[in-house]
């Protein structure tokens, strides 16, 4: 079954590898945004089944973007998975407290990323 995913990440290499993974390995539809502000607009337009959201972005960071998505009735119920290269447990606890669906870590394996997402969201 095909799913629609929105990737929000300011790093274009990570964005393109994640898109390659989700489109080619899983066959899902992907939309991308390169900032939190752009992602909020894109999420409302695209109505994805899930959002993959980078934590550390200039301007509006991932946690702030997540809170804004939750404020908007159109995007408030879309599952959000945070993507981060932060490995310290204090950071992880802080992110988990936000109420996101899951925290995924960079680097990720492009061949297994879709399974990770599908597993978290019960799409298997």
């Amino acid at each position: 079954m095909s799913h629609r995913i929105l990737i929000i990440d300011d790093e274009d290499d990570i964005r393109e590898v994640a898109a390659l993974s989700l489109e080619t390995v899983a066959g899902w539809e992907v939309a991308v945004a390169s900032s939190g502000a752009q992602g909020i607009v894109r999420a409302a337009e695209y109505n994805p089944d899930a959002i993959l959201l980078d934590v550390m972005m200039p301007g509006m960071d991932g946690p702030t973007t997540f809170r804004e998505l939750r404020k908007n009735p159109i995007t408030s119920r879309i599952p959000v998975l945070l993507l981060t290269a932060k490995v310290q447990s204090t950071d992880q606890r802080r992110f988990a407290d936000l109420g996101v669906e899951a925290i995924l870590f960079k680097p990720f394996d492009p061949l297994t990323l879709p399974n990770q997402i599908a597993g978290v969201l019960g799409w298997n």
């Binding site: 790093e11 290499d13 390659l20 080619t24 390995v25 061949l111």
Partner: protein, 114 residues
């Protein structure tokens, strides 16, 4: 996403990942140059706070990117650099030597990836 179709896709995905590596390698090398510049400045006892912060953020990005392109050792080295450059870390001569060594090792790792 059954195992047969996935197995067939692996070579195609690897080839596409290689293409993306070629596309983004200059950007990754540019990030490495920031790390090299900071390490050299610290070795000379003159690392400006702005360059330290930039190098810290750059090391964080390298940690995320390198492993995604299959360079796990590069990620481990970049994480070490990120920790060394963290605001709470003490910057001294051994740190400068280690940062220079890390930058050199990451450079080799990048060169070695086909």
């Amino acid at each position: 996403m059954d195992s047969n179709s996935r197995a067939n896709e692996v070579p195609a995905v690897s080839a596409m990942l290689d293409e993306l590596w070629l596309k983004f390698r200059p950007q990754i090398e540019e990030r490495l140059s920031v790390l090299q510049e900071a390490a050299a400045a610290l070795a000379q006892g003159n690392l400006p706070p702005e360059l330290r912060e930039e190098a810290h953020n750059t090391a964080h990005k390298l940690a995320g990117s390198l492993g995604t392109f299959g360079l796990d050792q590069g990620t481990a080295l970049a994480r070490e650099a990120e920790n060394l450059l963290a605001p709470e870390s003490t910057l001294d001569e051994p740190t400068a030597r280690r940062l220079l060594a890390i930058a050199a090792s990451i450079s080799v790792t990048i060169l070695d990836r086909r």
